[in-house]
Subunit: 419 residues, 2 copies
Amino acid sequence: MKASNHPRIAAERVSETRLWQRLMDLAVCGATGKGGVNRQALSPEDAAARRLMVTWGEAIGVQLFTDEIGNLYLRREGTEAAAAPVVTGSHLDSQPMGGKFDGAYGVMAGLEALYAMHEAGVETKRPVEVVAWTNEEGSRFQPGTMGSGVFAGKMDLAEVLAVRDRAGITVAQALEAVLAATPGVKARPGGFPIAAYVEAHIEQGPLLERAGKPIGVVRGVQGLRWFAIEVLGEAAHAGTTPLRHRKDALKAATAMVTALEEAMHDDTDTVRFTVGRFEVEPGSPNTVPARVLFTIDLRHPEAAVLDRLSAGIAPLCDANARGCAVTVTQTTEAAPTIFDPAVVETIDRWRRDLGFPGMEMVSGAGHDAVYLARVCPSGMIFVPCESGISHNEIESATPSDLAAGTKVLTAALVDLANR
Amino acid sequence: MKASNHPRIAAERVSETRLWQRLMDLAVCGATGKGGVNRQALSPEDAAARRLMVTWGEAIGVQLFTDEIGNLYLRREGTEAAAAPVVTGSHLDSQPMGGKFDGAYGVMAGLEALYAMHEAGVETKRPVEVVAWTNEEGSRFQPGTMGSGVFAGKMDLAEVLAVRDRAGITVAQALEAVLAATPGVKARPGGFPIAAYVEAHIEQGPLLERAGKPIGVVRGVQGLRWFAIEVLGEAAHAGTTPLRHRKDALKAATAMVTALEEAMHDDTDTVRFTVGRFEVEPGSPNTVPARVLFTIDLRHPEAAVLDRLSAGIAPLCDANARGCAVTVTQTTEAAPTIFDPAVVETIDRWRRDLGFPGMEMVSGAGHDAVYLARVCPSGMIFVPCESGISHNEIESATPSDLAAGTKVLTAALVDLANR
């Protein structure tokens, strides 16, 4: 590698103010009254954000592509045109009451990396591409991560194109309108070989902020299991029914939660055990509850631990049923993702080289990178967000943290693209 | 007392079939499709039931009165016209999806007692009156037990008459329509002296049925306290937020319920501790709950025990708050009622004399008798209801149990009216 192509040369050209300004420009597309964005997948607001991307890309002469599911690619050529590209990116769509940074940051960080490489005159062997994956959030069209799922061959294109929103509009119809709004973007099949994938994202959790570190080097993504537990007791009069004659669904359910909480405890605080829904019927102060439905969201980076903890749920619920009937149903499962050690090490090396404090971590939330990790060496860079808040209009991050993540991303991309 | 006026002579004239038939006739007023009744206070259905009462009363020559709040009285004169009457009764109004026996039984048992005394030619020194108290249930107009509350001087008449239902109709307006539908009933002020009050009622709980005994001799009514507990935590992402950084309102609330349940335990199973409402926000499977609102319904026959248990609630909630803010508010209080020992003993004596198995008990539910006990010696007779179910269209009781209670009532009334 020539000295002028050194990753640090490119990283040093990252502009904090330009990055920030583009995030603010993007946030106009679907801006809500409270500082957030409502930019759901394949909406006119999403199309407007894509047009900005196209405009910014054209200014530095990148090639523009889209594939069957509408993923938008900005390609900066390498010296070996036939080499598999290094890819970075995230998504432009948001939750209905989302923030300015979730997804948008990863795409803008990638764009800023292309700008920095362009301005530094850095050449890479491999092409570097920035991608905006279609419909990560899954708010308008279910499920989410459609763009990366189809790219990785893990979702069926025809099925996904036929999904309808609440108004009856299909993904195919919405996609046609969005593509019509972004002329000059060439069609190209997805699913092509990728040399490495790196995604930058806000943490969406509190750890980096609490640790006072701007960079999270993400080793993987937790595995996830969802369970629905239904407890069926008997409604009874609160005044006239002695406790020993009751089948109290609420007391059974609270005993289950208490027992599960104890069983899920680990000293390293790695297990994520959440009871988010807990619905009680009939819900009258003077009636013994007849039915409780509650959910468990269980996450851990290791499949074996998830297996063991999951296997304990039904027996513990049965043991605390107190005469009620209890049904435990697993409703969702996602295996843990372990990112490529070489990519993770590359990210961490440039973090250290650029002098940013950081820490290794595991992502608690799912990302497009989970699907990419199935088809190519992948990794993620996290930056702090205020109070760990995301999926919320008050989602916030600092310009300097966002720039730090972008500098590490830029150096890592140049490095990976020269291998 | 002449032998022909002996209480047993009257009790023996109680007709099981007539009592049952009248309960079935009454159940036509507001009949629902599922065998229950919807006969809310001061409705046309309530008026129809009152007309039946008037007709049945006129057939044996009783006098008919009503007072300021529409309580309907059937008066059988005694040999000492100026003596304070012995009164029995209950209410004719029902829950919106109520049963055929709650309230109606006490009124029909009283009517049957008058018929039995009439047919037996039994004379009493004191007059005996049967009353249908207005609006015990409080379904249409809140609060309930309006008729007995006003009679006892514990509710303000003007306030009560101004209460509106959901359609904006006042109690005063609804009362006027009901009185217009029952001509021939004379106005008479309520609040007059009563020598003794006895109310027959279905148990609304499972104890008599489980014990296989037809008669419950009610010593009193439990005291009641209601509490609302609000737990405020912080919403957080279920995947990204370590447990030690959470303020999980649900886990705090379940820990509170578990601790309270332990603190409320008594070996005699006398304490009634119920958490009937338990509402969780935002209620999403992958969001740590930010807020839980739950209610406590606490009942016990002894004021001192209620005081002690109530005092323990806030400290236990605080001790299990786990970083959440918790607010404990007492929303309702009703002191325990202890019925007059002489009335209770009179009921039990005639139960034994008539050969019915029975047991002493404390009512878990409130009744009009609670207000009467404030102004005169009072007592209650319970009979079993199927599976303890009440406030439900499937509420049921057997003709023989209903007749047994009516026989004991009749004997007790004759006895008390001859003192």
